[in-house]
Symmetry: C2
DNA sequence: GGACGATGTTCGGTATCGCCGAACGACCCG
DNA sequence: CGGGTCGTTCGGCGATACCGAACATCGTCC
């Protein structure tokens, strides 16, 4: 595994998460690499416009080339392409926002987002990264991973986002088992206070490829329990997208 | 300059432009690298989720991590942040779509996009990459670069997108000189038939940092000449954004 | 069905080239 | 003016990336 490239990737990720402007020294500390090494990697990344430096502070940040790459990924993403129409119909049916996400590392990255069909101003969340355990999308995906991968994700110290975030591995594991049984995942104010989400996994030819879910105010999606209409709609749409993605019926867990 | 990282960057860019799925052999030919080298680089990139492989064809494509990076870049981008409100007001004033872009290599990447204020369905173009010479944004930026950089951009074989695309270096150079004199750039169906754009450069503390422009149907923006109201609005907004970006008055070309 | 072509993958020796400790210089702050 | 911090440079050692060539694997065409 060629080391400099892996390290360059780690630098990019570090610049992409949290503080968007970091100096050489700060990066070398966070990533436990010698300062001179980080410097060399940054020079190379800068040449490719993957990183640029702040004119006045001299600190480094992501460069414009990454936007182009992100856009290109979304253009070619099969899950996104096959979700487009289904997500629209789901949003119209439940009158809430719909999100489609994939797992990258310990985060869920939103690859498609349909606004709630009303005239309120909403922020486009495509590209947003959310810790998997604080998202219904993430739980739906992780619940269907190999046990080994799942266990690894339960280990790393999971951050607390709100007072409702579940970070204890035991409780999360139990929650995931439940997801596996019922075929959907719920998140109730675990990422943002007042916001909830109901999601179901989407499968491809070989296992889970992502998840689709409905997000909205907690009191509307979840009262005494998950809103049953929404829940049925999410499960149905997830199954249809899975079919479009080429999932064999046997690979998609089904109940009753 | 550390070679493997630069090469990895070139691989990412190649995957991000044109055919979104490429094999090892195809990449090695396009980038003139040995096959085994490309293979090693791809393995490293794959480990970092910057690249993933198609399940059935085995070919490589960009990975989900790049979306997260793109989003992070946009979040931290000063030009974008300072353009948000001005772009909205510009769109409302001229009732057309507004785009903000920066130069990366020989392309303009759109970092902000305000829809035309009507109810028509429009595609979000944030992240789109357009050859600089086929875009008013690009011409506005390049016209204010160092002569050396400008000359370099005029050299590389410029692609033809429509019958109206200007690819001859002499004609382009003349056009850029004109842009420098009048303070705005025009593009008339040079990227997409029927579409035109009027743009002006935005300056920061040390030179041009991007451009902002109005895009719409050619017959509405440009009849016998650029629509004068639009033109005035674009120039005014570009100047205001430049001021917000910390441009010294002396650095912003002004006329009359 | 067998052979061919194309493509992905592995291997191993060589010399390249990245790695990193340490020193230098630039800058800020007190 | 002196101490501290940070970005940058240097240089020599040695790990390791590089790449030609062989191998494996698949699809395809007689």
């Amino acid at each position: 595994m060629i080391r400099s490239v892996v390290r360059a990737g780690q630098i990019l990720k570090e610049l992409g998460s949290g503080a968007p402007r970091l100096g050489v020294t700060e990066l070398s500390e966070r990533l436990a690499m010698p300062k001179a090494t980080v410097y060399g990697l940054l020079r190379a990344l800068e040449q490719e416009d993957l990183v640029e430096r702040d004119a006045e502070t001299g600190k480094y940040r992501l460069g414009p080339a990454v936007v182009q790459l992100g856009n290109a990924y979304l253009d070619g993403n099969e899950l996104r392409a096959r979700s487009l129409l289904w997500a629209d119909s789901l949003a119209a049916r439940v009158v809430e926002a719909v999100r489609v996400g994939v797992l990258v590392g310990a985060n869920v990255v939103v690859v498609h987002h349909v606004f709630r069909p009303d005239d309120s101003v909403q922020m486009l969340e495509v590209g947003a990264a959310i810790p998997w355990h604080a998202s219904a999308l993430g739980k739906a995906i992780v619940a269907h991973l190999d046990p080994a991968d799942r266990a690894a994700l339960l280990e790393g110290g999971l951050p607390t986002l709100t007072g409702w975030t579940i970070v204890e591995p035991e409780r999360l594991a139990a929650s995931l088992a439940q997801v596996g049984r019922v075929g959907f995942a719920v998140e109730d104010q675990e990422a943002v206070v007042g916001e909830a989400e109901i999601a179901a996994a989407v499968f491809g030819r070989e296992g889970v490829v992502g998840a689709i879910g409905v997000a909205g105010p907690a009191e509307r999606l979840i009262g005494e329990g998950p809103h049953s209409d929404v829940l049925a709609a999410v499960r149905e749409i997830a199954r249809r997208v899975s079919k479009d993605m080429g999932a064999r019926a046997s690979a998609v867990p089904h109940r009753h």
